[in-house]
Structures are given as C-alpha cells and as structure tokens.
C-alpha cells in the first residue's frame, strides 16, 4: 500500500539531499567527524525513506534485492582487496601502503588543527568509501527483506 501523495513527493524531494549529505560524510571521513559506517547509515536512511513511502512491489520494480546485496558484497570485497594489496609491496596486511607510494592521497599533514586536505591519509579514504558502500547496501537490504514478509495488496 502506498503512502499518501504528500509523503511520496516529500520522499522524492528529500532523497537526493540525503544521498549528497551521506556521501559528504563518507568522502570527508578522514577530515571531519563521521566516516564510512556513519555515512553509509545516512545513505541507507534515504533508501529506507523511499521504501516506506512506496509499496514493496513498486520498489522492487526499480531497485532489486539482488542489486543491493551485490552492492554490499562489492563494498566488502573492495575493503579486503585494498588491505591485501599491501602484501604486494612487501609490507604486512592492513598497512597504509598508499602513504609511501604514488602521488595520490599522499600530501603531508601538519600536526595540530589545520584546514584539512582531501588528498591525504593514504588508504583511509578508500576504505571509508568501501565501508560506506557496504553499509548502505546492508542496512537497506535488511529493511527490504523485512518488507518482503508483509502481506499487502496494491
């Protein structure tokens, strides 16, 4: 059963802003409070807002359960592969290998309060994005699984 038209329009209007805010939290995870898990949870609330505003059959026409599940698996794989690449450079698992190699994400950081630079912190932003992708898939697919158990008619 759909919610009323007001709720659906409000959900449509709010959804992109919630996505932008969530991805901001994920991408600035190494500079400002927040990080992958928190930003992923914010993005998942945007998806859940759509789920409760529309009915389950209408949602699964656009967003499949399999797609969200694959998103979650992709995030976990990206996380583990990023940690595993360190072995190729002769250092241990989970070492911050990007800090010493290559020009990207490698700017020096001054000690103490500073304005912040996105191009720092080596492997940490990559892992933030990976965990963000994983959490957004996981939390929204759990709600979608629970909605599949409801008996509703359009």
């Amino acid at each position: 059963m759909n919610m009323s038209k007001i709720v659906r329009e409000a959900a449509n209007l709010l959804f992109p802003f919630i996505l932008v805010f969530g991805f901001y939290i994920v991408l600035h995870g190494h500079l400002t409070p927040g990080g992958g898990f928190q930003g992923g949870a914010v993005i998942a609330t945007g998806f859940v807002l759509l789920f409760v505003a529309y009915s389950y059959p209408q949602i699964t026409e656009r967003i499949g359960v399999g797609a969200l599940h694959n998103t979650e698996t992709l995030g976990l794989l990206l996380f583990i592969v990023t940690a595993l690449i360190a072995l190729g450079f002769g250092v241990t698992f989970f070492t911050n290998w990007m800090l010493d190699i290559g020009p990207i994400l490698n700017n020096p950081v001054a000690f103490g309060p500073n304005p912040g630079d996105l191009n720092t912190a080596g492997v940490i932003p990559v892992m933030n994005i990976a965990v963000g992708i994983e959490v957004l898939g996981a939390l929204s697919v759990i709600v979608l699984y629970m909605m599949s158990g409801t008996k509703e008619t359009i």
Binding site: G35, E72, L76, I80, A121, E134
Partner: protein
C-alpha cells in the same frame, strides 16, 4: 546456597558500579599511554586529521574487518529468515 551466590554476585556488582561512579573522577582516566600516543602521533603516521578514523581504519584495521564481516553475516541471516518459501515447504507463523 544458590541464593548466597546470587546475593554475593549482586553485592560485588553494586560495589563495583559504586566505585566507578564515586571513586573515579570523570575525565581523568587511569591509563593514558595509548591515547596520548594516538593523539600525538596519529596525524603524522597516518595523515588523517580525524583521529577516530585513523584508529578505526589504520591502527586497528582488523577490528573494522571483523565489524564488516559481522554486518555481512547479519544480512545473510536476515535473508535466510525472510527467504521465499517453496510451495511444498512446511512452516507455520507463530
């Protein structure tokens, strides 16, 4: 005998909570070696301004790997509970 054991456990728990609540001063931790190290070396060693993210993703990466695995397992469990049932599969809702 059983009541005695339960009573002693509750008494020790209450005394412990009372000691934590009254005996220790808030904001003055007993052991500060680790957090002082993180605060003074975290930015320089990892390059991130957010010390919490530095610890979660760099100093204690295995912890985060376990957390991600727990989340994955939780989704698998939810999918198992809410899976599509076959026509011949017997089940009942309580």
């Amino acid at each position: 005998m059983k009541n005695l054991v339960i009573g002693a456990t509750v008494l020790i728990l209450c005394l412990g909570i009372l000691y934590v609540g009254v005996g220790l001063e808030f904001g003055v931790p007993l052991f500060t070696d680790m957090d002082e190290y993180f605060v003074s070396h975290g930015q320089e060693q990892t390059g991130g301004n957010n010390i919490v993210t530095d610890i979660v993703f760099d100093f204690r990466g295995f912890d985060t790997l376990g957390e991600a695995t727990v989340l994955f397992t939780a989704v698998l469990g939810a999918g198992l509970v809410f899976r599509k049932r076959g026509e011949d599969e017997e089940y009942e809702y309580e």
